[in-house]
Symmetry: C2
Subunit: 480 residues, 2 copies
């Protein structure tokens, strides 16, 4: 477990060692209960003095990340023991209201843990089967750096200073987004479009603006754990709707509507995460009819649109943003940590959503929005996305063959970035064993609102196209 | 009211006109009830066809920003009629709990309106007395653009891609912030420091992570309206504590503690907004004793630290981040819309705060954090801040003289960016009349949690050092 320390850094070796270890603990690369190497062993591994190691372990202990057990050494603490913010209240509220269905809002979900798959792209240089984004070198778009340099030139930067007055987001980017949406079949004026810090903030803003604690919200299952965690942390009542190849289970939605009056339905319509399913037009039509009849809004999270086939049916296309809100982002096609996302909403909701953005982050940073606008205007983003789709398609073919050869069954027709495969064994236990081999997988339980055990896992087609992982997978799965 | 339209834009003239007008309405530069110019008049002003104007007015109507009154024309709608998100629930919760003191959580506060002073830096080229930031040309730091270009070079950008794994924020920036805090007398390890989208998001994250709807929170009065609005929107119970020259009114705090068990005290200790007061060491000590005895946390919002005298007493200095959280930002010293802020917290709170950041925006953008780190490392930011302080000091001397000559009385000793002056007349009515003359002022009611009428206003020393505004002010105030 050597971590790279530098004597050139402005940080002391102690600080560096503590920080690297803290990062690994937070990412659950060092799971709870792991014993840290002995001081002597660690000093040898890192090439530092034992004093440096002792000081680093002390720092970690002060941060509550490890605990000292007398005579035994230092052990990684169970971070999941710390409840997520705001959970106590919702649990109390739910029990008061006597709610029987869905997830108990107090369910312990550790957001850091859930999101590790998105942040950890490689461990020790090995591509990670559970990663939530494309590999960095796929996304390494030179045009973005050029655009960034252009908008950082003196004159342009000065303009972006003076143009502090756009709480809705950079006007030029919103125009480009309006054209992009039109291309997808959604007519949204720039005045209906608001930029956000990634699709994540867009979803967060919608929940904060439209919901009150205790409100019932329909979400897809399997589905994206961060959405479950956010709604639970906000004290919402999460109503899981089974997601099939054509769309949500409409009978279940109907029952929820009749009995619980949900306020919102959050859906990844196209290239659903984790299955890869895409909504049919007929299903979109029925969802909208329910929305109109029972008065809920549909939030369409279109995170994967850049790697999706064009002109896929969408709720927001049929609905013309009457009872639906479109959420988009660029994390799957460009540098994910630039955090540029957006939403397009019915005109009457715009002011309310803008208020929520203002209270949450005031505005969003202009320079990167301008750089992105430039890339969109010049068609670079479109061409880059086309290249990604072709490359992903080749990787998918290879990954599918390898996965099937390793005994995995595809639950859903392979499409997009992720495959949803049945391994035949409990994937949470499998995840723990593969972690020991240096591989992070995304176990199925992570995609269930109740976190119930699952034999499925989500694989990233871009990072599972090499035989290396599947050899280890085959060996681990064959060993009881 | 001509707005600048361009035939070179990719937007139609209709869209451009509608957007410009929408922006002015949202900023309350066209207040509710204002009649838009007739179609013919507007077409003449803008040099476009009447058809273009009709279409633009229709768009504004569709967005709910204006309403058509038959035979009379188009009028700006009262946006404040739309309640802030999440207010209905808190109001209900409060009435259930029978809470008598503080602000009724349902109080109507329009965030867009409150924040206009921060976003509107000039109207028709005139500097705005109510502005919340320094003028753009003061902040126009060439070194920042250079740093931005540097981190946008191919190699550095690639690194920032690969380094997607720092949910706490760019490591180098957190090291620089740790050194900055040490300089202020606060020992905070990088592992205790988390970057955020401006100080605003830091305050938002703290509230979300530590509070549950209905929790009582102590805030300063007068104080910053966005904080009131956020807490109200989240359903918190806002307990105003009068702020004096030395610090908060400790007797009032004591009573709140004895009867209501507040969870948090949010304070701008140094160069308090709007008064400019700075906390005394003795007062900081007493606040901390209360915090320890009654078990609440203190959030120290140090937004103005870069224009403050160095080594001012702070709660977090005395407390060593035990029961206190430090919040900082760069909006008052650098490009405000870059949205870089941070917090430093007790180690045991870090995981919880990080979870909340992840659910809210996942991470924060790396390139600008890296550019800022560079500027801090090279001392450019420190020197820039010194220059700003000198320039502001000269402006303050001029503004104070002009304000006093115009009959204003300084309630607080002039210091920092803002002056808190008593005009002798109701400043909300005054604001309306000065708006007709093209000047936005920040009326005192905006800084009171109850929005009660006030004869005070907050002036920005950088934008009130010219005689022009004060002449108009004198004329308006002399006319009944």
């Amino acid at each position: 477990m050597p971590v790279s320390l530098s004597r050139q850094s402005s940080q002391t070796l102690t600080q560096q060692l503590a920080e690297r270890l803290a990062e690994r603990i937070r990412m659950h690369l060092l799971p709870a209960g792991t014993r840290l190497p002995s001081v002597r062993e660690s000093a040898r591994q890192q090439g530092v003095s034992p004093y440096t190691v002792v000081a680093a372990y002390d720092l970690l202990q002060a941060q509550g990340l490890v605990e000292a057990r007398p005579q035994r050494g230092f052990f990684v603490r169970d971070l999941a023991q710390k409840p997520l913010a705001g959970q106590a209240a919702p649990a109390a509220a739910a029990s008061k209201a006597g709610l029987p269905m869905g997830i108990p809002p107090g369910t312990r979900i550790n957001a850091s843990m859930l999101i590790r798959g998105m942040f950890v792209e490689s461990v020790d240089g090995k591509p990670q089967p559970g990663a939530g984004v494309l590999p960095a070198e796929w996304l390494d778009a030179g045009f973005l750096a050029a655009a960034m340099r252009k908008v950082s030139s003196g004159r342009a930067l000065r303009d972006s200073l003076v143009r502090y007055g756009e709480p809705m987001g950079d006007g030029r980017l919103r125009e480009a987004l309006s054209r992009r949406l039109l291309h997808l079949g959604i007519a949204a004026m720039p005045a209906q479009i608001m930029t956000t810090m990634g699709a994540t903030q867009a979803l967060d803003i919608v929940s904060r603006a439209l919901l009150q604690p205790g409100d019932p919200v329909m979400v897809e299952e399997p589905g994206w754990a961060v959405e479950y965690a956010r709604l639970a942390a906000m004290g919402m009542r999460v109503l899981p709707v089974p997601r099939g190849p054509e769309g949500p289970d409409l009978a279940v939605m109907q029952r929820y509507c009749e009995t619980l009056a949900p306020k919102l339905y959050v859906s990844v319509s196209v290239l659903h995460n984790p299955t890869g399913y895409s909504l049919s037009a007929a299903s979109a039509h029925e969802v909208l009819q329910l929305a109109q009849r029972y008065g809920f809004y549909v939030v369409e999270d279109d995170t994967y649109s850049h790697i999706a086939p064009e002109h896929a049916p969408r709720v927001t296309v049929l609905d013309r943003l009457q009872r639906s809100i479109y959420v988009g982002g660029f994390a799957k096609v460009l540098v994910p940590n630039w955090r540029i996302g957006y939403l397009a909403a019915p005109p009457e909701l715009v002011e309310r959503l803008l208020d929520t953005k203002l209270l949450s982050t005031l505005s969003s940073p202009t320079p990167m929005e301008q750089a992105l606008a430039l890339c969109m205007e010049q068609g670079q983003l479109r061409r880059h996305a086309e290249r990604l789709r072709r490359r992903l398609s080749l990787a998918r073919t290879r990954s599918v063959a390898l996965a099937q050869k390793a005994g995995c069954r595809f639950v859903a027709e392979p499409a997009g970035l992720f495959g949803w495969v049945d391994t035949g064994v409990d994937t949470e236990a499998l995840a723990q064993r593969l972690l020991d081999e240096g591989y992070l997988i995304a176990p199925g339980a992570m995609f269930h609102a109740s976190r119930r055990p699952s034999t499925c896992m989500r694989i990233n087609f871009a990072t599972t196209q090499e035989a290396g992982f599947w050899r280890v997978f085959g060996r681990v799965i064959a060993t009881p």
